[in-house]
Amino acid sequence: MTFDNNLHALWNSDKSGGNIDIPHALEKLKSAKMPVDKVRRHLRYEFFMQLAAVIIIGFAPVTLKFNPLLIFPFYLLYFIFVLICGYFFTKLFLFYKNMSNTALTSKDNLYAVYYDIKLSIELYKAFTYCLVPFLVLFIGMIIVNEEKIPVDALFMQGAAISKSQAASVLLVLIGVILGLAVVTELYVNTRYGKYAKQVKRLLDEFREG
């Protein structure tokens, strides 16, 4: 027991905290090293990059001198595309402001942090996957335009495409989508998964026994 008593005495004798100054202007402080903040800040940065990509894609018909027949379907798709992006932007920027409540019990707090990180990551993945079909269609349109394939013939003579041609188009598509999925999962896991893992490890420490 003496170890314990000595430890208590030592602890109470530590008066070295007097030199901490408590800033009274909150604006000077910004959170930098909390896992949730870190994940969100990175994600926001990436969303800005994606926003830039969205804007560039919007100008594609102008810069690539689109066939007039393609312009309407392109912008129809683009409109839906922008709506989806808008949904994810508002989610990330508005709904997650000040969600944390650090006065919970430590275990509950860790679960909240874990949930927040996971949710942000899943939101990011869902967003990426939502964009894939649009990108495929946009790229398809650009190819049709660049190769000067007659648009009306594409729809009217669609039946003329042989089964093997259809199959190879399908295979390429599946390959592209699978490849994108693998890249996304790997990227998200290496970049953000470590924060989730760190909190998970901590939660495991709380287990019984």
Partner: protein, 154 residues
């Protein structure tokens, strides 16, 4: 908060081993305290609420970079004054050993040193009382062994 600032310092020193990281953690704790002051509903005492927020912050706080910095095993040079010298040396050994504990163990040791009972520790951490007792005993044994490994004994 002024009168409790020693606690912020102690927690920072338990969780981070370099002066830089300690200062960052202290700042972060203060920020989190400000941010969650709205949640302080006077159901509990101010210190209980503050300990919780501070420890919850420390538990998930990240270092400046993710790499573990090389911990120096050398205990810093201390002033020559005899009594304060031993105290400082003991403290240095204590904090150095604490660095090697798990994050949860640090929190438990902290509550214990602040004279919290097993039940209170359990309540604040969200675990059962039995679990808190087992974990506290383990952490104490581990801490004692660590201090002895450093060639010191209390």
């Amino acid at each position: 908060m002024e009168q409790h600032k020693g606690i912020i310092h102690k927690i920072s020193r338990m969780y981070m081993d370099t002066k830089d990281d300690q200062a960052d953690l202290a700042q972060e704790i203060i920020l989190q305290l400000w941010k969650s002051y709205d949640n302080f509903r006077h159901q509990s005492s101010f210190s209980t609420w503050m300990y919780r927020v501070a420890l919850n912050t420390a538990l998930v706080f990240l270092r400046k970079d993710q790499q573990q910095p090389a911990t120096t095993d050398a205990v810093p040079e201390m002033p020559a004054d005899e009594t304060s010298h031993t105290k400082e040396l003991q403290l240095a050994h204590f904090y150095q050993a604490v660095q090697k504990l798990e994050r949860l163990e640090k929190a438990i040791i902290f509550y214990h040193l602040e004279n919290y009972s097993h039940r209170e520790i359990a309540e604040n951490l969200g675990i059962t009382e039995g679990n808190a007792r087992i974990k506290l005993n383990r952490a104490k044994t581990k801490l004692k062994a660590l201090i002895q490994q450093q060639g010191y004994d209390f």
